[in-house]
Amino acid sequence: MSERVTNILLVGVGGQGILLASEILSETFMLAGYDVKKSEIHGMSQRGGSVVSHVRYGKEVFSPLVPEGEGDILFGFELMETYRYLPLLKKGGAVVVNDLEISPPSVLMGQETYPQGLSEKIRERFPDFLLVDGQGIAKEAGNPRAANTVLLGAVSRRLDISEKYWMQALEKMVPLKALEVNRKAFQLGREFQG
């Protein structure tokens, strides 16, 4: 078991299912025998605001927040939010991001434009970069709503955790009727290499 603490940041837009994804991550790490902490803000941000969830695991974890500049993986559910939170990563950190743009109110109203070329800008800064068509691959698995599980699969490849713990966590957290699709979505995400 690794002594050092691994830091994962999940970022996106309120309502995208980020909290559930971070729950599955934490559950997996606990099942694998690690100490785990996670933190995020509920409340106002749920109304379509920007969301950050911190998940940390290792032999012993103190702070529930990832110290700035120590993120190992930035797990993005939306492109602009991923770009916004890049400073949380460490040098050489990895980015796994859903290929999705969600316009904030000012863009919807035509007052600002959604920034262009974000995935290239992220890749330039962080070469360890994986852009995932979450919805597309989830459709292949049988339900476009399983996009978050595809992303989890893609993130799982970068973590030294046995596959059986991921499966146990999915079984615990996902409703039975959706389990098969989510298992498949996870596998497709895990195999996806860009």
């Binding site: 837009v13 309120g14 729950e23 934490s26 559950e27 606990m30 100490d35 785990v36 902490k37 996670k38 933190s39 995020e40 803000i41 509920h42 409340g43 106002m44 941000s45 749920q46 109304r47 379509g48 605001g49 920007s50 974890v61 103190f62 702070s63 529930p64 927040l65 110290p67 700035e68 500049g69 120590e70 602009m80 939010e81 770009y83 916004r84 890049l86 400073p87 990563l89 460490k90 040098k91 316009s103 904030p104 109110p105 000012s106 863009v107 919807l108 109203m109 035509g110 600002e112 959604y114 920034p115 800008k121 800064r125 962080f126």
Partner: protein, 594 residues
């Protein structure tokens, strides 16, 4: 059994393991999930109170009858409960009573960031502060034990980062053999007439002295001596940050933050070369330690405002020449430089509040606001809220404004308040308005739920915390009983009806109430609300006038490069068919999707 759970879930588990019989709360971020989890333990009578004062009074009654009780609220809720709290300190308890105060440094979801440790000192009540979920569970039990042992209510203080962070907790079996609650008359201890209260006050002082002395040997206060060049006194989540960034330094972790273990602090101060306090918000420890003549440093280099984070602590300690190897900050080139569009929270598509604020904006109303999702009516493009102070303040604020402005300005003043907030402390404001004949208009946005905190039931929703049907208080009847002669109910999705009602009532030279009667779009209870047919924009008819963008609906998007001068588009996955945008389109470009 080990589970990874939040601080709030752990407090609920702690209440169960400690044999709590009654739990009461008013929802408020970051405390809400405590009762939402306690309700799953069938052994506990758990309920939403109409406000925090009532919640505490329910807890006091249960305690007087001999049961263990838990009362939970957010930090500002303690302001509402302060009246019973200060006298409860004198009466003491029979069954243990724990009052959870969930503070919100950084104001993630609050109107101020008051440090409720001050209440412990002010009300002369001990306070415990856990540093992770396991401690949340354990400290809940310890608080109840101390409560009975010292005949006092006990505060359990969390912060957002403790309430909403998850960590691993080991479960235990619930305690057995607690006394069975029963009525035992003990009037002199519980009737706080001056003659009785005068007897109680010295006992309070004596109790706090005993607790001060006992604090020095309590296991929840822990001296951890490592490298003795620097010692840090800290508590709560700050303890975790300090251990994270200075694993080699000595710490004194305070589990009881009031009263302080002064002998232990003196011993720690003597054992280290330099002494610091790391605490969020007020210099609560620091001032008391300095008052003992101990040299210590804290708020001279750490911020008072906002929450502390690992990086804020690292930066502050760097100014003292104490550095950490933590944090491999990025190179300049890696950090994005451009300003990105912000992503503020927004009312949901199909929110019944949106049309009301659109109309208020059109009528150039001076809106005194209140606490709830509808406070977002402050944000553009609705931009129609001028005040928001605390729960229930809108109505009293409107009365005060009306008393001093001209007759013309008077006609623009409208108080806006939600159903839950009205039940909480708005009713009193309306009584005052009628009693004192203040001619202002009150809009009660009745969406049948306490929406902002995540949809909790309330006295006007018709359901209890355990989802049982109950009497649904009729707001219109209540307003009439208070003496409002003009009470009307409108459909907030009908802009014309809403506008007409507002114009007429705002002009009326006496108090009036308008109640909107459409539920929160997120209320899932069957039969309450069904989604209407969805809408779409006909790009041939859309002239690009942008009128539909003035309601700030997340389902409507402006496409600048289409049509002659741009067109609007409605996202079918977000549209709820509320119909408000259709009413704004003078070119009939918006209609039911085909």
């Amino acid at each position: 059994m080990r589970e990874i759970i939040s601080g709030n879930e752990a407090i609920a588990r702690g209440a169960y393991e400690a044999g709590v019989k009654v739990a009461s709360a008013y929802p408020g971020t970051p405390s809400t999930e405590i009762l939402e989890n306690i309700v799953h333990y069938k052994e506990i009578d758990a309920s939403w109170a109409s406000n925090e004062k009532v919640a505490l009074e329910v807890g006091i009654g249960a305690s007087f009858a001999g049961a263990r009780a838990l009362v939970a609220m957010k930090h500002v809720g303690v302001n509402v409960a302060a009246d019973p709290l200060f006298t409860l300190s004198y009466t003491g308890v029979k069954g243990g009573l724990v009052l959870v105060t969930a503070d919100d440094p950084e104001m993630h979801s609050s109107q101020n960031e008051q440090d409720n440790r001050n209440y412990a000192k002010f009300a002369k009540v001990p306070m415990l502060e856990p540093a992770d979920s396991h401690e949340c569970k354990e400290f809940t039990r310890i608080a109840l034990e101390l409560s009975e042992q010292y005949d006092t209510p006990v505060f359990l203080r969390t912060t957002t980062r403790i309430s909403h962070s998850k960590s691993i907790v080991t479960f235990a079996e619930p305690v057995r053999d607690l006394p069975v609650p029963a009525l035992v008359k003990n009037a002199a201890k519980q009737v706080m007439l001056p003659m009785n209260a005068r007897v109680r006050h010295p006992l309070v002082e004596e109790r706090m002295k005993k607790l001060s002395s006992a604090a020095n040997s309590m296991a929840i206060n822990r001296m951890e001596l490592r490298d003795r060049t620097v010692g840090i006194i800290t508590s709560g989540v700050c303890y975790q940050y300090v251990r994270e960034i200075f694993p080699q330094l000595s710490t004194l972790k305070l589990g009881m933050v009031h009263p302080l273990p002064m002998d232990m602090i003196r011993q720690f101060a003597a054992a280290v070369d330099r002494l610091f306090v790391v605490e969020e918000l007020d210099p609560f420890f620091e001032e008391q330690i300095k008052a003992q003549g101990i040299e210590v440093s804290g708020k001279d280099f750490l911020p008072i405002c906002g929450e502390l984070t690992p990086e804020r602590i690292i930066k502050a300690f760097a100014t003292k020449g104490i550095v950490t190897n933590s944090g491999s900050f990025l190179e300049e080139a890696q950090i994005p430089k451009e300003t990105l569009p912000g992503r503020p929270p927004n009312m949901c598509p199909g929110c019944p509040h949106r049309g009301v604020f659109y109309v208020l904006n059109q009528l150039k109303a001076y809106v005194t606001g209140d606490i709830g999702c509808y406070t977002l009516g402050f944000l553009p493009p609705l931009s129609s809220m001028e005040t928001c102070v605390c729960m229930g303040a809108s109505i009293g604020n409107a009365s005060g404004v009306v008393k001093v402005v001209s007759e013309e300005e008077r006609k623009t003043v409208v108080a806006v308040i939600g159903d839950s907030t009205f039940c909480h402390t708005g009713i009193n404001g309306l009584m005052d308005m009628v009693y004192n004949k203040v001619p202002a208009t009150v809009v009660i946005l009745d969406n049948r739920i306490t929406a902002m905190t995540g949809r909790q039931d309330n006295p006007a929703s018709g359901h209890t915390l355990s989802d049982e049907p109950t009497h649904r208080m009729e707001l219109a009847d209540l307003c009439r009983a208070i003496g409002v002669r003009h009470v009307r109910v409108v459909n907030p999705f009908d802009l014309e009806e809403t506008r007409k009602a507002l114009k007429e009532e705002m002009a009326r030279p006496e108090p009036s109430v308008i109640i909107t009667d459409k539920p929160c779009i997120l209320v899932k209870r069957v039969g309450v609300f069904l989604r209407g047919p969805l809408y779409s924009v006909d790009p041939e008819k859309c002239t690009g006038c942008r009128a539909c963008l003035k309601i700030g609906c997340p389902a409507i998007q402006w496409l600048p490069n289409e049509g002659v001068r741009g067109v609007s588009r409605i996202d079918p996955t977000l549209c709820t068919g509320c119909d408000v945008c259709r009413q704004l389109c003078t070119f009939s470009a918006i209609g039911r999707a085909k």
